[in-house]
């Protein structure tokens, strides 16, 4: 009777519509929808964790004609992370967007973005993915511009244009696939896909378009200004979820759709770009003047890490190693999602209470906001990849498989990345140790700090140690 997949998309959409119509009640309705959606998402993940993957045909017309929603292990894990982070962001937003004016603008767009996210993770139809990408791009760009400054408008316009270019290219790829194989469903295309010019060009177009939206190294130019100038909860969503959705799509295409077509050399190209992203992103983060710019560049670096898994995945034949690599990839994605969201929320609080987030003058604030600094620390642990964070175990598996396959250079990149990450995180944390008077109590603004703290704690401690259930989830999924 209850179809969690459809509910997961319809509920936030319904919420968005209600909030648009009744702006006065925006905060209450928003929170209600947030809670309901998270419950549905977690229920969905638990059902997938228990048995096999979920599948539901919308409109009851069967796959080639109608649209299907599917939730396998990978999708369920990402949905769970996305919804938890979104819930935390929503709680934070009730505090951040205090005024009626700003919350009226924020909540409808935010819930639309949320439903686009769930829709994208659960979609199994290529064209539907295009529509979800567009909805995601539009609402993210609109949300990003809420700060109202000129830089925000300019950055988000560039983001919107990049998004449109990317999704238009993606759509052409879908058109080609439809021309050749006459169906739009992911699984059916994957089944009937044969190496040839169509598959080749569709791969190039679709993945090329998505690389733009996933901000892989040379194409990351739009991300830092967009994420740094957005309001704190929005930049948390952008960095942790929106970029993650594009990467999830690349993965879905690379591992499922184009599994037979993909060659190791192509994987190597993406891996090298990823390595470039790690080094360039970390180096720029180290040199960044402002805290949120640092966080944005750290996202560019973490995206690099995710793409470094691709060459290894393509080179490893099916078997336990590939299973471990996939689990490690998901672990890294989840940890980064939680950590970056926590980091941005804390950075937002620091900016709000001191009026600026220039790292050099951060001293006083870092000392007087112990909870915020503690969150930055925990999130930093996850970003650097210190144990017990998921990133540590993910890097362990990544380097292990790299050495096993003889591609030892990935290990060097991981080493350099970890050191640079440590440098730029501790550059911020060092500010917290100065001679300011000791704050009386730990929490200064609970509504912002508790969700941020929980997110960061989950990233630093929770996900890493919960690797076993995640492995089961992924195993059960496919």
């Amino acid at each position: 009777m209850f179809d969690p997949l459809a509910l997961a998309v319809a509920l936030p959409l319904l919420g968005a519509l209600l909030v648009t119509m009744l702006p006065g009640w925006s905060r209450a309705l928003g929170m209600l929808t947030a809670l309901a959606t998270t419950v549905v998402a977690l229920w969905l993940t638990v059902t997938v964790w228990g048995g096999a993957s979920l599948h539901s045909d919308l409109g009851g017309w069967g796959v080639p004609l109608g649209i299907a929603l599917r939730a396998d292990g990978l999708a369920a894990a990402l949905v769970a992370m996305a919804n938890l982070v979104a819930l935390a962001i929503s709680i934070n937003a009730t505090g951040y967007f205090g005024t009626a004016e700003s919350s009226r603008k924020f909540w409808p767009l935010w819930l639309l973005l949320w439903s686009a996210l769930n829709g994208l993770f659960l979609a199994a139809d290529l064209f539907n993915l295009y529509v979800m990408l567009e909805l995601l791009g539009l609402s993210a760009a609109a949300l990003g511009a809420l700060t109202g400054t000129r830089e925000a408008a300019e950055a988000n316009l560039r983001y919107l244009l990049v998004g449109l270019l990317g999704s238009m290219t993606y759509l052409l790829g879908v058109a080609l696939l439809y021309t050749a194989y006459g169906t739009l469903d992911l699984e059916q295309v994957a089944a009937s896909l044969t190496p040839g010019p169509v598959a080749l060009s569709a791969l190039a177009l679709m993945v090329g378009g998505l690389l733009l939206k996933a901000a892989l190294f040379p194409l990351h130019f739009w991300l830092p200004p967009a994420h740094a100038n957005a309001p704190a909860p929005v930049s948390a969503a952008l960095s942790a979820l929106v970029v993650k959705a594009a990467i999830y799509l690349v993965l879905r295409l690379w591992l499922d759709l184009f599994d037979g077509i993909v060659t190791e050399a192509a994987g190597m190209l993406l891996g090298l770009l990823g390595a470039g992203a790690v080094l360039w992103g970390s180096w720029r983060a180290l040199r960044a003047e402002r805290l949120k710019l640092l966080a944005a560049y750290s996202t560019v670096a973490q995206v690099g890490y995710l793409f470094m898994f691709l060459p290894l995945l393509t080179a490893t034949p099916d078997g336990p190693e590939r299973e471990r690599l996939l689990t490690a990839l998901v672990l890294l994605a989840l940890t980064h999602g939680f950590a970056k969201a926590g980091f941005f929320l804390a950075a937002g609080l620091v900016q709000k209470s001191t009026g600026h987030d220039r790292i050099r003058e951060l001293g006083g604030a870092a000392q007087s906001l112990p909870a915020a600094t503690f969150t930055l620390g925990l999130a930093g642990v996850a970003l650097i990849g210190l144990p017990p964070s998921g990133t540590f175990f993910a890097k362990w598996v990544l380097v292990g498989q790299a050495i096993a396959l003889g591609q030892w250079w990935w290990a060097l990149v991981v080493m350099a990345g970890t050191l640079l990450a440590a440098a730029y995180v501790f550059r911020v944390l060092a500010r917290a140790f100065n001679r300011e008077p000791t704050p009386k109590c730990f929490l200064t603004d609970p509504r912002t700090e508790i969700p941020a703290l929980l997110l960061a704690a989950l990233s630093a401690l929770g996900v890493g140690l919960a690797a076993q259930p995640i492995a089961v989830l992924l195993g059960a999924g496919d």
Binding site: L200, L203, L211, P218, P224, P225, M268, R284, R287
Partner: protein, 577 residues
Amino acid sequence: MSGLLLAVVLVPLLLAPLVVHPAWRWLVLIAPLPALASLALLPPDATLELPWLLLGTALGLDETTWVFLLFTTLVWSLAAVPVVERLGTAAGTGRFRLLFLLALAGNLWLILAREPVGFYVGFAIMGLAAYGLILHPGGLMRRRAGRVYLAMTLIGELALFVALLLMAQTQGVTWSLPATSAPDGTVIALLLLGLGIKAGLMPLHPWLPLAYGAAPAPAAAVLSGAMSKVALLGWLRLLPLGQVALPEWGMLFVWLGLVSLLVALGVGLVQTDPRRVLAYSSISKAGLFVLLLGLLLLEPTLTPIGVGALTLYAAHHALVKSGLFLGLGLRDLDPARPLVRAGLILLALALAGAPLTSGALAKSVAKPVLVSPGWIWLDLALMLATVATMLLMARFVWLIWPAPGVDDGHRGALPMLRTSNDTQAPVGSQPAFPIWSLAAWILLLGLVAGFPFVLGEPSAWPTNAGAMLIAGLIAAPLALAIWRRAPGSGRRVRRRSLGDLVVLIEPILAAQLWTGRALFGRWNATVEAARAHLYSLGERVGSPPPDPERTLRAWPTAGWLWLGVTVLLLLLVLVAP
């Protein structure tokens, strides 16, 4: 009953912290009592096994240790009386008493120890504690003596440590003394070095005259009497006497002993300070012991007699030497007292080995060993040594005999108990003459006097008569001449006396230290400069360059980059396998 052995060591250790408080200082006297009790009550071969202490300690007695324990305890208890009475409540004396008892405990542990670790523990504690005794009232000269003493003791200790290690290599972690297997060359060399420093053998002796000259009377007495004999005990324990003949090592020992015997006497004669004279006589006696050991190594069959002779000689020397030092202590308080002067003369005679004295007895017992190789030159040398010792003692008597009317010029420099130049010594009135220490001293005199008659049979008494005669013939006219021409001229004090090897070493050491520091300093400077440069690099890097991403952000560049990536993707999927 064998628990008493542990008490011997434990009581002084436990009393040590208590005696720091001036009111409790009389406890120092009680410390040696358990040792005396064990001597009286315990059978000569009592042993005590303590597997849990240190690495499994074993304490025990046998013939030699019995004798050693006897005279050591006597010396310590007699020296304890002046410590308690005369040192009194001056500042720093608490610390002196603490270290005095620690040294006592170390000494007793060492004598009773039946395994190397215990032996080394006693040796180390005694060595370090003695440093504090030498340093007692402070002052520049004592500090220098202390520093030299400490340096050489540490080297000695480490040499002994390594020797024990190498011996342990063959016999497992711990084994019972005396050593059963024959140690190889390096071990013997190390033992010679380690214990030689303690005994004050010639090339290793520089610290001894300084220390005896600087230390207060009871400390000097204990140092010369009990502590230096430890080296002999060590040699007896660790060298393979009686098991195997080591001709070349034996000859080395003999020659070293001889050199030390004669040269020390020569240098001693030119000394102007009575304490240094006694110091050099101790060095010569150490040479004699090494000579005897060498002979035993040459002729293992002589070991029983040899060991007996050595132990007796050690006992005699301990008692006499400590008596002399204590006497000097008393004399410094009241130079004119006739009883003290008579006693000192008696002790001097005994030390010189005049007939009817304990010296003569010891020499007679040692005679058979000395004669055994039958080398003529050895007998001649020994005869010369005996004569020289007589002369040395005469010199000593001459030095302590105050010339009429001339105030004893060099008293100021002597480490008197009430020297004025030391800031913290109380400048109070002259303390009452310490009766009790005088009584103890007299008791010691009685012991020394009775020694030959109790132990030796009458035949031994007249030995050395001939040598005594010759010495008297040489000394008498010399003394008369000096006395008439320039009374008291022989007594001037020269600070840098001839025998001090330290005088030579110290500048070399200082030079070495200086060059090392300079070299090291420069190296340090370069390292610091490099590090500073590195960190400034870090700061300079910190400043942000113009935003490199501006060009990246312009659409054309971003555009062709994106197209490039897509084309590369196409090619790699198309071309690559």
